[in-house]
Amino acid sequence: MTKLRNVCRHIRSKQAGPFWVTMDIWFDSAENFQRYKDSPGLGPEVFEKLFGTDPDLVRKIPVPDFDLVKISYPRANPQGGMVERDMHSGQQYVRLLDVELEGPSGID
């Protein structure tokens, strides 16, 4: 087991239109990308727990050229509402830094 922050060179979040957030997770090597891209730690339930989003709508797209996983999910509250705290969703990634990742069984 390791934390996401220990196997990434960069993580960012940004709104993708007023109703969605997209996260780009750059792993620090092709090995770690392969090992962790399908980890349950990056699964829809984690996004439900951390961001209150509908797990059925979470979309994950691996981008092997960049050793990157892109994960997008609908915002719990659309951009700019009464309780907005992060208009551009640029800080949302921070909650993901400490999620625990498990590689394929037998490796970690």
Partner: protein, 460 residues
């Protein structure tokens, strides 16, 4: 035009958004390279719904005038069209007209009289409801089917244009196009497509160039890029000679603010870049991109609608009081209860429960409002932002006024002298205006790409 006569189409993308600071020397560079048009968007939804709901620009009038002046000088010098999309940040009719007035001032000052096309894509509510009743409007997740009530809650509604209205205006001899809300890539792709470039290449170039210099290695070194769009691919280079594009900097832009880096839905089709190749040119600062495909499909336009809701009044204090800082979360909860009780006491009967107060503890957990992990060290200081929301500005103001002494003096530890927290302003309360939200995330299917677009010609 015959196939043989085609040569790659060069366009200057002067900046990421009109008014963000076009650089004259970069335009000169692009013109010297043989640019045939200048194209830029002037906004996006990024900064929130206020700009569509109010019809106001985000960039200042002076900044937009400055940029337009540089572009119109280039137009006058080289005789090439200037194409602007999503005018005035949101691309509603008010935003377009605001930009038109600045443009008319600029052309008068320059003593030129270009043929100006204004492309309006704002939709009236009755029309949207009729399209919806006719089954033409479909929701995009996470929203559901469109209700008339939602349409009514919008102050302004726009449909995002594709390339066709721009091409129609170019065909009719436009020197300058000020477009309403359009997809960013469409604004850049329209001219190359009109001149015979490949649709896949042009749309992909438009996507890569949409934020100007952002697809380069060092976006702080310049403002724009030059796109050279052919039939099967395109090249992109920064307009600043000190800057470079690399295959990585260019291809990574497909990730930006986009849920799918391979497939992009646009009016009238889908851009597929699954097979795209990005290669460094010999000059070391340009990138050649090939392999994108354009798959035509049903012609849909995305709808954006924004409206203003309740009103907010805010206050801010800074706190270094150690009694507060030793238990910020507990203090927050007690503080909020006291402020709610105080507000309820002072509001007229019947209005004493229809309001909302939130306290954002900057320096502690303001950004997410979530529980702070045990063992988190005490901060050195915090800023507390008070946000009252109510159905009128007067009511929100009166809540802030009622709460003011408590917000100023509420102690963390009882039976001590009252503390006084650090207000940075007088008056302490700031009427902030309405809460603006986007209400629509839907697409409308149209028979004709110009069905929902009105083109108005202005002779300057």
């Amino acid at each position: 035009m015959t196939a043989d006569a085609f040569s790659p189409v060069k366009i200057i993308v002067p900046c990421g958004s009109l008014g963000s600071g076009v650089r004259e020397e970069e335009i000169e560079y692009g013109l010297a390279k043989g640019a045939m048009a200048i194209a830029s968007d002037a906004g996006s939804t990024d900064s929130g719904a206020a700009y569509l709901a109010t019809g106001k620009s985000k960039n200042s009038r002076g900044a937009v005038k400055r940029d337009l002046t540089i572009l119109m000088k280039a137009h006058a010098k080289a005789g090439i069209p200037v194409i602007v999309g999503t005018s005035g940040q949101a691309g509603g009719d008010l935003n377009v007209n605001w930009t038109r007035d600045i443009l008319l001032e600029v052309v008068k000052e320059l003593g030129i009289s270009p043929r100006i096309a204004l492309l309006y894509s704002e939709q009236n509510k009755a029309e949207v409801k009729a399209l919806n009743a006719g089954g033409r409007i479909k929701p995009l997740p996470p929203l559901g089917a469109l209700e008339d009530e939602t349409v009514e809650s919008c102050d302004h509604i726009v449909a995002l244009m594709g390339v066709e209205p721009y091409i129609a205006a170019l065909e009719q001899g436009a020197d300058v196009i000020l477009g309403g809300r359009s997809t960013d890539p469409a604004v850049l792709a329209s001219f190359p497509i009109w001149k015979g470039a490949g649709w896949g290449a042009a749309w992909h170039a438009g996507k890569i160039g949409e934020c100007g210099v952002q697809c380069s290695v060092n976006p702080t070194l310049g403002s724009g890029v030059l796109l050279t769009v052919g039939r099967d691919g395109f090249e992109v280079e920064p307009l600043s000679e000190r800057n470079t594009c690399t295959p990585y900097s260019v291809s990574a832009h497909m990730l930006y603010e986009n849920t799918n880096p391979y497939l992009l839905n646009e009016p009238g089709g889908q851009l597929d870049v699954n097979n795209a190749r990005y290669e460094q040119e010999e000059d070391g600062r340009s990138v050649r991109v090939t392999g994108a495909a354009w798959n035509p499909g049903t012609y849909t336009m995305k709808l954006e609608g924004a409206g203003g809701g309740r009103y907010q009044t805010i206050m801010l204090v800074g706190i270094q009081d150690p009694d507060v800082l030793q238990d910020v979360s507990g203090f927050h909860d007690r503080f909020l209860d006291v402020l709610y009780a105080r507000a309820r006491q002072t509001l007229p009967p019947g209005e004493d429960d229809d309001f909302h107060i939130s306290l954002r503890m900057y320096g502690w957990n303001a950004v997410d409002g979530a529980d702070v992990p045990e063992g988190t060290p005490n901060p050195r200081e915090i800023g507390v932002l008070f946000v009252a929301t109510a159905k009128t500005q007067e009511l929100a103001n009166s809540i802030a006024h009622a709460c003011n002494p408590y917000f100023f003096h509420y102690p963390a530890v009882m039976n001590k002298e009252l503390p006084s927290y650090g207000f940075p302003f007088t008056p302490a309360d700031i009427p902030r205006g309405q809460v603006y939200e986007f209400k629509l995330n839907h697409v409308v299917e149209v028979e004709d790409p110009l069905q929902l677009v009105r083109t108005v010609w202005v002779n300057s």
